[in-house]
Symmetry: D3
C-alpha cells in the first residue's frame, strides 16, 4: 500500500508545545488542491511514554471535544514527562457539522480503520492515524459518547482480550480513567475501529461512552475532563496519581439478549430512566404509531436483568434500532 | 382565494368516534395523483363546544404526539359533551421524519399560516386547517415542545392580547392546562402561526412548550397528557374539574434582552441547568472553537435575571442562535 | 401583477411556419442571465381560428410530445386556415428529464396556473401561457397521459361546465378528437390547471389521458397523433372532417367512491387488466408487505361498478395512492 | 478478509419454518447503532438439498418479490425434504424504495459481489450472502426482471459454462423453471453478480428476466410463482414434477450486434412489440428530439434477426442506452 | 401585508459609527429559533442625506464586498455629514457560500423584491430592505459585477426613466461614480430588483457591473473602492469632489439584437477579448461539442456593432446562454 | 483482478481514422444496462510510435479539450507515421458537467489510478485506461489546466524521476511541447494520477498546467493546440520539427514553503498578478471576513522568492486552500 498524502505541520520529535494541523488533501470543484486542516496539538518534554488522546471521532459527541480543547490549551510542557498527542476534533468535517457521519462521504469514521490512502477523506485520515500516529504511541484513548442517538452512563470501555497481560493493563487504565463504570466488550471480528487498530499495534487502548443525547452534558463533561488527565497520570506523563473518587463498577454486556430492539419504526416511550436497575420480562417501553391512531402501542420488554446502561435518546426510532442496552457486573 | 383541494374522510357533523384522514394531494414523480394521509380523530356527543387539539406541528416534538395518540385511542364518546377534533401528527411528513421542517418543502409549518391552497404541501394543509377546521372551534391548543434544538421548562403559552376578556379566557385555559408555568408572550406582528390564526378567528387559543431535546421526556409527557385532558375539562367537554396539582407560575419573557445569543458558531458549554434562577451579568456559559485549539473559549453572560426557562440542547451552535432564554414573573 | 419576463422569438401575427422559442430567464450559479429555451412552432395562414396544442405539461407523458413533434415538422402552412400554436414540450425542464415534476423547483406544472411572473420557473412560464398565449386562442387542448404512475384507457377529457353551450362545444371537440372514450370530470374548485385557466378565458378547451406507464405506447401514440389532427379539422383550421373510426363512449367518474386507494405502502398486485368491466365489491387486487413476510396480503375491493379506466402502473405504492379508478357511462 | 458484522436471527440448522432477519449494521446520524433488517424465511425438514431463492436484488423488479412473499407464507415444512432459504426482498433498502439502486450508496447490488465486510451496505450484505449463505446451498436462483427500464420476455437465464456437467445441470434447472424461454449468456469476465458468485462456489445457479416495465405484470407473476415452486420440485425439495406446460425455447444473445443502442438522448418510439420476430436491417424505431422540433427523427435499425427479447420501457432514453435486444435460438 | 420579523441591532437614528446585524429568523431542523446575522454598519453625523451602499446581492461578486468592508472599517464619522448605511454582504448566506444563488432556497436575491415577510429567507430580507431601509434613503447604490458567469467592463448602471429630472440625477451620480462606462438600460417591466424597488420609492439609485469571472480583480476592485467613496462625495456626505480621472463613456444596450446567444450547450471559444470593438456579422466565437468529435464547431456571429461590454467567463455554456453583449454609445 | 467491463467501438490495430467510443456500463434507476459513451478517436498509419493525448481529466479544464477536439477532427491519417489515440473529454461525465469532480461519484478522476474494474465509474474507466490503453503507448500527455480554482502560467509538467534516461526523455518532450515553462515536480508517493500510472508502465509521460480560471483562455488555447501537435512532431508521428518560438524556462516548486495557504476562509485579495516576480516576506495578499466588518483583513506573505506560477482564481477561499504557488528556476 502506498504512502499517505497527509502531512503534519508539527514535528513529532520536537520538545515543547506545538499547535498545528494534519493537512489532508480534499479536491473540490472550486479548488483542486483544497486541503482539510485537522487541528493537532503535541506537548512533549523529558522522557516518558507517548499518549494519544482523541475526540470527535463522531462529530456529535461533545464531551471529549471540549475536554481535549481545554487540555490542549492548558497542558504545561514543563509538567510533562513523555509526549501527549491531542486530536480534539479528529474527524474534523463531521465535528464542524456536529454530525456523526461525514458530510464528505457519509461514512462513519470509526468503521474506516485501518484506512486506505486512496480512499475517500475518512479512509485517508484513518490510514494516516493508523500508520503514522499509532506507531508512535504507548497508550491511546478515544473519547466517545452516545452522540445524538443514545444516552449512556459514563463509562471507560475496553475490549475482552486474549492476552491476559494486555487485558490487565487495559482494565487498569480504564479504572484509572475514573468513570462510574468500567465496561468490557467482546469486539465482533476485530471491527474496523480506532480501538481495534490500536490493539492490533500492541498499544494499551481504550474507548469510552461518556453521555450523549446530542448535547454537552456538564456533569459528564467534568468526568471526561478529569478522566483525560487521569490517563496522563496513569501513564506517568503527568506526576501524581489519578483522581478517582469512587472505584468504577466493572460491567459488561454479555450478548445481544441484553439489547431491546424496536421491530418497527415509531415513537419510543421509555419505561425507565437511564441508570435504572431493570428486570428481564419487565416493560422496557412502548412504541407508538402516528400513522394509525387506532393501533394500540406495541409493548417492548427487557430480555435480561441489569443496569439500564444505554437508552435511546431521539424520540423517533427506525426498524431494527436498539432502544435499550443492559449491562451486568463482570 | 380558491377552495381547498383537501378532503376529509370524517364527517365533522356526525356523532360518535371517527378515525380517518385529511387527504392532501401531493403529486410525485411516480404518481401524479399521490396523496398524503393526515390522521384525524373526531369524537362528538351531546351538545357542547368544539375543541381542536393538535400536535406534530413540528415533527420532532414528541410529548404532544404521544399524548394525543393516547387520547385519540381512549377518549370515550359517551363521556363527551361537544366535539373534540384531534390531529396527533398534524404536519404528517415532518412527523414521520422526526424533523422540525418538512422533508417536502423545507418549510417550518408554523410559519405558513393562514396558508395557501395553491402553495406547497405545508401551505395547502395550513389553509385547510385555518379555513375549514378553525371555524368549527371554540377552543384550540397546539402542543409544542423545544424539539431537537431546545429544552424548555414545561409551560402553557399564550399571547398578550388587546382584548381583556379574551386575555382572561386565555389565561384561564392556560392555568387549567396545569403545566408548571403559564407564560405569556407578545406576538411579533401577528406572526404566521397556528396560534395567531386561531386568535384571528376569535378562538380561545394556546400554544405550549413542553420539554424538548429531541426526545420524549416521560415526566413532560405526563404533564402533557394530563394537560390535554384538563383542557377538555376546562372547556366542559369532559365533566369534572381540571387536575392541577400546583397553580402554575405566571411568567413572561419581556424582550430580546432576556435572550443570550451565540455570536459565532461553536460548541456551547452551559453554566447552568434548565430551571435555575440566574442573575444578569453572571456567566451563561462558554463557546469553544474546535478549528483553533489555541483560541480561548468565548464567555457569554446573562443580560437579565430570572428563571432559565429555555436552554440550547444541541452541543454545536450556529452564529445567531439563542442559547438561553430567561423568564420573569408577570 | 407585473408583466412577464418571457420573450418569444416567433411573431404570433405573422403568416407561414415559424419555429422558435419562448425564452424564460433562469438564473444559475454559473450564469446569472441564463435562459431556458422552450420550443414553440406557429403555423398560420389565411383566416380562421387559433388552436393551441400542448404536450409535455408533465415530462413523462410521451404520446403527446411525439405526436406534436411530428405535427410541428409536417404541418403544411398552405393547408391551414387560421393559426396553430404548438408547444410539444411545454414544461421543458421536466420533459428533458423525463419526469413529471420540475427538476428546477419540484413543482407539478399543472398545479401552477394561472402562474406568477415573480415565482419559480414553472410559475413564470404558466403566467406567460395564461396571460399571453391563451388570449390568442379559440380552441386549446393539452395532451396528457398517465405518465409514470398510471395506465389509462385513452380518453379525451373535459370538465362539467355550468354553461350549456360551452359544454356542448366541449363535448363536440372531445368526440371529434376520437379517442375510445370521451370523459367528463367535475373540476374540484377550479383547480390551478391549464385546462381550468383556458376555460376561465372562455376558450373551448380539453385535456386528455392517452396511455401512460412511463412508456410511449405505439397504439396510444397513433390515437394521439390522429386526435391532434382531428382537433384541427374540427376547428376548421384544416379542411375535411375528423377521422373518428368509432364514436367515443361518453363516460364519467362520479365521485371518490369510484377510486380504490392503497391505505398503506406496499406492492400492488392488481386483479384485473386495464379496460376490464368490474363490479363493486369484487377484489381489486392485493397489497403485499416485504418488510414482514408473515403478514398476509391486504385485499382491496372495488367500491363501484364500471370500466377499469385507470390503473396504477408502478408496482410499489405509497399510503393514500389511488390504484384504480372506475368510469361509468354518462 | 475479516468476518461479517451481519447476524441472522434464524438458525440455519433448525428444522421447521422460521421467519426472521439478517441484521445489517447501518450507522445513521441519529443512531450510531442503527440496523437494517433484511427479512429471511427458512423452511427445513427431513433430508435433502438446500435451495436459496432470492428476489429484490433490484428493488423495482416485483414479480419475484411477490412470488417469494407468497411462497414464504405458504410453504408447508411438512412437505419439504431439505431446506429452502428465501430472501424475498434481498437488497431491502432498494426494495423499500422501489428503486433499482440503493438509496444508501447508489450502488447496483448485483455489481457488488463477492462483497466486502468493510464497504458500504450493499457490499456488507453481498459479502454475507456470498460467504455465509452460499456455502450452505446446492441450488440457487435469483429472480430478476427488466425493472423500470426494460420489458423482457419471461426467461430463465443461465451462463455458458466451461464445465459440461454443470452446464447440463444449469440447463435442466432452467427448463424446469418453465418460463417461455431458457436463455444462456456468456458472462463478461465473471462479473460481480450473485449468479457468478454462486457459480464460483460450485452451486447450480440461475438468474432470470421475468417481465419488467416498473410494474407487477400479473401474467409474468404467475410464471414466476409457478417457476419458483418448479425449482423446488426439480431440486427434490418438494415431491412431484415441475409443472411446465410448454417446453421452453432455448435461446441466446450471441454478441453486442444483437443490441440496438440509442446514440443520443431522446424519446424512443419503438417499431415493434416485445416478442416480435424481427429482421436485420429493418427499422427498430426512431428517436425524437424535443429540443429541436425542426430536426427529423433519427431512424434506428436492427443489426441482427431474431426475437425481440428485450425492449426499452421508459420513453426517454440517454446516450448509449440499449433500446432493443434480439435473441436467437441456440 | 404584515410587518417584518427582522430586527436590527443598530439604531438608525443614532450618531456615530455602529456595527451590528440585521437578525433574520431562519428555522432549522436543529434550532427552531435560529437566526441569520446579516452584518450592517451605520455611520452618521451632522446633517445631510442618507446613502445606502450594498454589495453581496449575489454572493460571487467580490469587488463590492471588499470595497464596502474596507469602507465600513475606515469611514470616519467625524468626516460624515448625513448618514451612510453599509451592507457589505447583503444576501449573507449566498455571500458566505460564494454563490450567486441562495443555498437556503435557490433563489436569485435580485429577483425577490419587493419581498414578502412570510416567504423564504431571500423574500423576508428583501421585504425588510424595501420597507424599512429604503424609506430612510436619498441615494442608493447596489454594487454588482459579472459574478462567476460573466466578465464585464466596469460600469455604473442605471435605468432609462420616464422622469427627466430623476434621469438627470441618475446620470450625474453614475458619472460621479467614475467607472470607465456609464450604462443605461431599459428595465423590463419594472423587474423585481433592488434597483427597481429603490426607484419605485423615489430614490436616486444605481446598480453597477464591475468585473466578474468569479474572482476579485484588483484593478476593478480599485475602481469600485474609489467609486463607492465618490458616491459619498457626490451626495455631499463626504466633503470634496468625486475623484473621476476620465469622464465615463455613456453607453447603452439597445435591444436583444446586441446579445449573442448559445443555441446549444458546449464549450465557447470566444473570438475577441472583453472591451474589443466588434462589427455586426463578424465571428463572435465558436461552440465545440465534446460528445461528438466528428461534429464541426458551430460559428456564432455578432448581431450588432459596438463595444464587447460583457463576455461569458465560464468555458462550458448551456442552451440559451448569452455569451456576448455589445454596448453602443448613447 | 478481473477484466474490464469496458468495451471500445474502435479497433486499435486498424489503420486510418476511427471515431468511436469507450462504452462504460453505468447502471441507472431507469435503465439497468445504461452506458456512458466516452468519445475516442484513433488515427493510425504506416509505422511509428503510439502517442496517447488526453484532456478532460477534470471537466472544467477547457484548453486541452478544445485543442484535442480540433486535432481529432483535422489530423490527416496520410501524414501520420504510427498511431495517435485521442481522448478529448476523458472523464466524460465531469466534462459534460463542466466540473472538476464527477457528478456520478464525486471523485477526482486523477486520484483514481490505477483504477478498479468493480469500483464506481471513475475507477472502472481509470482501470481500462491503465490496463488497456497505456500498454499500447510509447508517449503520453495529459492536458490539464488550473480549472475553476486556479490560474497557472502555461507549463508542461513532468516528474523528477530516478531513471536519468527517462528524465532526459521527459524533459525533451516537455521542452518540445513549447509552453513558456517546463516544470518538474517531485511526485508525492507515486500518487494515483494518470501521469504516475503512465510512468509506472515505462512510458515517456507528461502532464501540464495550461491556464485555468474556469474559462477557455484563447492565448493559452493557442499554446495548447500548438503543443499537442508539437508532441506528435517530437515523437516522430508527424514529420517536421516542433514549433517552439522560445525555449521554455525550466523551473520547479521545491517544497511546501513555496506555497501560500489561507489559514481561514474568506475573500482573498491578491497583491500580485500571475507571472510576477515576488520576494519572500513580501505581501502576497489579504484575507477579508464578511461575517465581521470590524475585523481587520489578515495579511498573508510569501514564504519564498520566485515566479508567481499559480494563483487562486475564485474570490472566496476555504481554510487550508493554497492561494499562491511560487516556482524557481531549476
Amino acid at each position: 500500500m502506498s504512502a499517505s498524502p497527509v502531512t503534519a505541520t508539527v514535528d513529532f520529535s520536537a520538545k515543547g508545545r506545538q499547535s498545528g494541523h494534519l493537512r489532508v488533501p480534499q479536491s473540490r470543484d472550486d479548488h483542486g488542491w483544497g486541503t482539510i486542516l485537522v487541528p493537532i496539538v503535541v506537548v512533549a518534554n523529558g522522557s516518558g511514554p507517548t499518549v494519544l488522546l482523541t475526540a470527535g471521532n463522531h462529530g456529535d459527541e461533545y464531551e471529549g471535544q471540549v475536554a481535549l480543547l481545554d487540555l490542549a490549551r492548558t497542558l504545561d510542557p514543563a509538567q510533562v514527562q513523555g509526549r501527549v498527542i491531542l486530536l480534539p476534533a479528529m474527524h474534523f468535517p463531521a465535528a464542524m457539522a456536529g454530525k456523526r457521519l461525514s458530510p464528505l462521504d457519509g461514512r462513519d469514521f470509526n468503521r474506516c480503520f485501518p484506512g486506505d490512502p486512496r480512499g475517500t477523506f475518512a479512509f485517508v485520515l484513518a490510514h494516516y492515524i493508523d500508520s503514522v500516529l499509532l506507531p508512535l504511541c504507548d497508550f491511546q484513548m478515544d473519547l466517545h459518547s452516545g452522540g445524538t442517538g443514545m444516552d449512556i452512563v459514563p463509562s471507560a470501555v475496553g475490549h475482552f482480550l486474549d492476552d491476559a497481560a494486555m487485558q490487565e493493563k487495559t482494565l487498569a487504565m480504564a479504572d484509572a480513567f475514573g468513570a462510574p463504570i468500567t465496561l468490557l466488550l467482546r469486539e465482533v471480528n476485530a471491527g474496523p475501529t480506532l480501538l481495534a487498530a490500536a490493539e492490533a499495534r500492541g498499544i494499551v487502548a481504550l474507548s469510552s461512552e461518556l453521555g450523549g443525547g446530542g448535547r454537552l452534558n456538564p456533569v459528564n463533561h467534568a468526568i471526561t475532563a478529569r478522566g483525560a488527565r487521569n490517563v496522563l497520570h496513569h501513564a506517568g506523563v503527568l506526576a501524581g496519581k489519578p483522581d478517582v473518587p469512587t472505584a468504577p463498577r466493572r460491567m459488561t454486556v454479555p450478548s445481544l439478549a441484553y439489547y431491546v430492539f424496536a421491530p418497527e419504526g415509531g415513537i419510543f416511550h421509555a419505561a425507565d430512566a437511564l441508570g435504572a436497575t431493570v428486570q428481564a420480562g419487565a416493560p422496557a417501553g412502548r412504541l407508538l404509531f402516528i400513522e394509525n391512531p387506532d393501533r394500540p402501542p406495541l409493548e417492548l420488554t427487557y430480555g435480561a436483568s441489569g443496569l439500564l446502561w444505554c437508552a435511546r435518546h431521539v424520540g423517533r426510532v427506525q426498524p431494527g434500532d436498539p432502544v435499550c442496552v443492559i449491562a451486568t457486573d463482570m
